[in-house]
Symmetry: C2
Amino acid sequence: MADAGSPFHEAPHDHHACVAAALAAADLVCRQKGARLTALRRRVLELIWSRHAPARAYDILEQLKGERGGAAPPTVYRALDFLIEHGLVHRIESLNAFVGCNDPRYGHSAQFLICRRCGTIAELEDAEVARLVRARAAALGFRVSHQTIEIAGLCPGCDAGSGDPTHAA
Amino acid sequence: MADAGSPFHEAPHDHHACVAAALAAADLVCRQKGARLTALRRRVLELIWSRHAPARAYDILEQLKGERGGAAPPTVYRALDFLIEHGLVHRIESLNAFVGCNDPRYGHSAQFLICRRCGTIAELEDAEVARLVRARAAALGFRVSHQTIEIAGLCPGCDAGSGDPTHAA
DNA sequence: GTCGTTTGGTTATAAGATAACATCAGTGCG
DNA sequence: CGCACTGATGTTATCTTATAACCAAACGAC
C-alpha cells in the first residue's frame, strides 16, 4: 500500500514494494535506452531507495565498503552520475544528498517537499508550478534549462505532532 | 538603481551605485535591528556585491587574506552567517555560493535566475510563484518554512549570443 | 575601570567532490 | 584463440566546502 493519495510515505507501508518497483522501473528504463545498469549501479540505487529520505554519498559509501572491498568516493559518485544522467535519481542541492526519482520514464521538472524534522522527502511533478516559473523567466528573456525547487518545512505527520492545536488530534 | 526594468545587470552599468545602495540599505537595516554591521561584515558584503554573480566563500577568503592578516575559513563563514541571518545575503544552494539580497528590508520568498554561461544571477520576488508553491504544499498538508528556487539557464544576453536566431528549443 | 558579551583569530578537522591513472570485464573480429 | 577496443571499476591523491573548539581582543553597560 503505497498511499496513492499522498506523495508522503511516513506511515508504515510495504516499503519493499517501493524498492522493488523502483528497481523494476530502472531495469526497464535502462533496457530501453541501452544503458548498462550494472550490479554496482543497481545496488547504489537500491541503497538510495532504502528510505523515503535523501541519502548522502558518504553514507552510501560506508554501506558499500561493508559489502565489497575497494569502494572509494569515486565508486559512489560515478554510480550517482550515471543514475542522475538517466533520470533515476535526483540530487537535492540544499542537502548535498540524493533521492530516487518517482517516475524515471520521462523527463520532468520536479519539486521537492523536505521535512526538516523527520527528513522525509516527497517529489511533486506539478506542471503548473513548472510552467509558471518558466513563464516568469521567459517574460524576462531568460531561457530555462533546469529548475531546482526544494521546499523545506514540516510534513503532515510532523506538523500534526508539533503542538499546534489546530492540527492536533 | 540602474536598469529598473530588468533584474539582470549584464550590460555595463554604474555598478558602484549598486554597491553603494546595497551597503546603505545594509547600514539602515542593521541600525533598525540593533545588529552590528562591523567593518569585517561590511567588507564581506561589499565583496559579495562586487559582481552580479554569486561569490564563493573561499574566493572571499582569498580577498580578505590579501587585505588583512589572519583571515581563515571561520572568518568568512561567520560573516556570512550574520549576513544571511539578517537577510542581507542569500545562499545559492546549487552553487555553494552567496549573493547579495536586492531588498533586505523585509523577509520574502525569492527565486533566482542563474545564467550557466556568464554566471549572472537575477533575484526575483514573484509573489505568485511563492504563493502557488505554498498552496500546492498546503494541499498536501505540508507546512512550508523556506523555499529554495534556483533556475538555471541562459540570461537574455547569453541566449541572444548563443547562435540560435529563432530561440527554438 | 571592569564585568560580561560579542566578535574575531587560530588551529584542526570534518564533509563533500573530483582528477588522474591503473586494471579489469565484456565485445567484436581476425 | 589472441588481440584490440571500449566502458566500468579500482586506487591514490587531492581539492573544495564547511565546522568544531578554544582563545584573545574589542565593545557596551554600568
